[in-house]
């Protein structure tokens, strides 16, 4: 039970802005609360930037989901970059290999209801997040 997703390329700073805006639009459409919209858009911004900066670019796909009881939004971020060799380390607050704050992955995970990551050194990274309406 879900509508077809919308896929955006993530290849530039501008694309990261587009991802934020699409997520915002869909979040409003499924009537996430204002705080949950803000959390989801923030998480999406972090992950889209990682796709661009560390993954060397990729795509993001935004879809609405419905589990029969609740509606929600699912977003997939995928790249074919270097992957993440040590996931536990990458998910540690403050860990960064790029001079960032190291809060993107760990923070995004806190901001959503479901956070799933598939990655392996040399195999790219795919992260799926879901936020449900309360």
């Amino acid at each position: 039970m879900s509508e077809p997703g919308q896929r955006l390329e993530v290849a530039s700073d501008q694309d990261v802005v587009r991802v934020r805006q699409l997520v915002r639009t869909v979040a409003v459409a499924v009537k996430l609360s204002l705080v949950d919209q803000t959390k989801l858009v923030t998480a999406a911004s972090e992950l889209a930037r990682n796709t661009l900066v560390y993954g060397g670019g990729g795509w993001a796909e935004v879809e609405t989901v419905d589990n029969g009881r609740r509606k929600g939004i699912r977003i997939v971020f995928a790249d074919e970059g270097p992957g993440i060799a040590d996931l536990d380390l990458a998910l540690t607050d403050g860990y960064t290999t790029g001079g960032g704050l190291g809060l993107g992955l760990s923070g995004a995970r806190r901001l959503v209801d479901e956070f799933d990551i598939v990655t392996e050194a040399g195999q790219g990274t795919t992260i799926t997040i879901t936020k449900w309406c309360r």
Binding site: D13, Q14, V16, V17, R20, Q21, R24, L34, V35, Q37, T38, K39, V41, T42, S45, E46, R49, D93, G100, L101, L103, G104, S106, G107, A108, R110, L111
Partner: protein, 141 residues
């Protein structure tokens, strides 16, 4: 690339971020502000983020960096107008923005800067005559 305007109002630089900034735009703002602080000799910077519907770790770090750079250039930065949902999200993201002064709106931000400036002068007076060497005008003459 769009650019965020920096306005000089009295002895304060006011930046009102009205667009969803690309990362490069945020970095440009950081540079522009440093240049304007030096060019104008302003001692206060107010950054109004009331139009921003999110602040992620990149923008958060940019704000913190602006505050640090300003301080080195003898200017104090106040971030004003953060929306409640943004504040809640920032804290959960893990970003507490240490070292950044905040106020609820531009007016309160200006009051905060004025008070800060007044306190600084009191401190300098207590140090004696050294304060004269601290002002750009005295150093230039």
């Amino acid at each position: 690339m769009e650019r965020v305007p920096v306005l000089k109002i009295g002895d304060i630089l006011l930046v009102s971020i009205q667009i969803d900034m690309e990362d490069q735009v945020a970095l440009q703002l950081q540079e522009d502000l440093a240049d304007r602080i030096v060019a104008t000799g302003c001692h206060g910077v107010i950054i109004d983020i009331s139009a921003l519907d999110i602040v992620d770790s990149f923008v958060g770090r940019t704000l913190a960096t602006i505050a640090s750079i300003s301080r080195v250039l003898d200017a104090e930065t106040v971030v004003v107008g953060m929306r409640p949902a943004v504040a809640i999200t920032l804290v959960e993201l893990g970003l507490s923005l240490p070292g950044i002064r905040t106020a609820l709106n531009v007016e309160l931000g200006m009051e905060l800067l004025a008070r800060h400036r007044a306190e600084e002068f009191t401190d300098l007076d207590e140090l004696g005559d050294e304060d004269e060497a601290d002002t750009p005008a005295a150093a230039a003459s």
